[in-house]
């Protein structure tokens, strides 16, 4: 190779490396906006409804935090499949008849613009003995017998949101069921009738109604003014996928109703803004927000408390896995957290508890 050609190639190599790094620096800083995708503006019209009333059938998923954490740790940690964890179901002082398991379930009454009404059940809890008592307390058992509840919307496959399904199926096995994409085989088997003795979960009443599986990346309509959005989040104890509800309340704005919101309430609100027409007006939030469920903390949660006021939420009906510490800090930050009555084994009045109701609209 001639010296001049070698020199040229050497210069080329030096310039190439320098140019690559320089372009990297420039495009990742001053030119960033040219390349980064712009956020979407919500264009899916989900219609409108007049109002919703949420009744907290049960928000106490379990009664002793340390016990449930220890159960997971003893089984091998947070990555172990929930269906093979021997959950403690006896000898827990704060439990329901010694059983640490409770469950999460919300009854939603929807009033449409033409005055008609529908009911749906968001999640069906965990311990069927406890769920039977809660369903009886709120009249859900009779509503299911009379087929007044149109739909069981399962937010995600977690033990405390789904394993009480027998308490629903024994009253109305033909109920329409919607689950998020990500359910594992065990989850589908449980719906069809199965027994997992290690984890103390079973369903002896096979589902006979319609089952829908909803994927992420779009808005799924349910009724006028009611839709769901799914997320692909991986969650502890081998669970994948979560979905949540969005309601468009006339003259008020969007209401986000969640089970656990593992994807994060801000991510959910962003999805509503970017997919639902008119979704940038957020009126209310209800449900678990999964921030400090074990009363642990992380500066990321402080980031949330500092950022969430700018979403203009007027009513915060958070509970369950939101965590009392989060609620305490939200109240201090001036956020409109709705207080509860601390009845039926809910511990504090800091937020909505078992038997409490909240209306939007």
């Amino acid at each position: 190779m001639g010296v001049s050609r070698r020199n040229f190639l050497k210069g080329l190599a030096l310039g190439g490396t320098t140019g690559y790094l320089a372009m990297a620096g420039v495009s990742s800083t001053v030119m960033k906006d040219v390349f980064v995708p712009k956020p979407l503006v919500g264009d899916t019209d989900i219609g409108m409804c007049k109002s919703i009333k949420c009744t907290v059938v049960s928000e106490t998923s379990w009664f002793n935090n340390a016990r449930v954490v220890q159960d997971m740790k003893d089984a091998g940690g947070l990555l172990v499949n929930q269906y093979i964890i021997p959950w403690t179901n006896t000898g827990v002082k704060e439990g329901y008849n010694g059983n640490n398991a409770g469950g999460y379930s919300t009854l939603i009454d929807i009033e449409f613009m033409d005055g008609t009404k529908k009911k749906m059940l968001l999640d069906c809890g965990w311990n069927t003995d406890w769920m039977d008592v809660c369903f009886k307390r709120e009249g859900v058992d009779k509503m299911l017998d009379n087929k007044e509840i149109d739909l069981l919307f399962v937010t995600h496959e977690h033990f405390d949101h789904y394993w009480g399904v027998e308490s629903v199926m024994k009253h109305d096995p033909g109920i329409r069921v919607i689950v998020p994409k990500g359910f594992y085989k065990e989850g589908f088997d449980l719906l069809k009738g199965a027994n997992f003795p290690v984890a103390h979960v079973k369903n002896d009443f096979p589902h006979t109604g319609k089952l829908e599986v909803r994927e992420s990346g779009k808005v799924h309509p349910i009724y006028p003014g009611v839709a769901s959005i799914s997320f692909d989040s991986a969650i502890i104890t081998r669970v994948l996928g979560e979905q949540a509800l969005v309601f468009n309340i006339k003259d008020k704005g969007s209401v986000a109703v969640t089970g656990c919101c593992h994807m994060g309430i801000i991510s959910f609100l962003q999805e509503i803004k970017q997919r639902v027409k008119g979704g940038d007006k957020i009126y209310g939030v209800q449900g678990g927000l999964h921030i400090s469920p074990f009363e642990d903390w992380d500066p990321q949660y402080d980031d949330l408390i500092k950022a969430i006021p700018k979403y203009g939420i007027e009513v915060m009906g958070c509970n369950h896995c939101t965590g009392y510490l989060t609620a305490e800090k939200m109240v201090l930050a001036g956020l409109p957290v709705v207080q509860g009555t601390a009845r039926f084994k809910s511990k504090k009045k800091l937020y909505l508890g078992n038997g409490d109701q909240i209306k939007f609209g």
């Binding site: 010296v3 001049s4 070698r6 020199n7 040229f8 190639l9 050497k10 210069g11 080329l12 190599a13 030096l14 310039g15 190439g16 490396t17 320098t18 140019g19 690559y20 790094l21 320089a22 372009m23 990297a24 495009s27 390349f35 995708p37 979407l40 992420s216 990346g217 997320f231 692909d232 989040s233 991986a234 994807m263 970017q274």
Partner: protein
């Protein structure tokens, strides 16, 4: 780490080549642009978790 010996005798005769360097700057910048186009094509997702 184990090879620190730098220039050979031939290399000591070489000079800094400006045309090569400038062409290299353009090529290098272009390669980074291609890199980000490739990454966007492979990785872009509004539902990734």
């Amino acid at each position: 780490m184990s090879e620190m010996k730098a220039m050979s005798q031939e290399e000591e005769k070489t000079e800094f080549n400006w045309p090569g360097f400038i062409v290299g700057l353009v090529v290098g910048s272009g390669l980074f642009y291609l890199t980000i186009k490739l990454i966007s094509a492979l990785m872009f997702s509004r539902t990734a978790a």
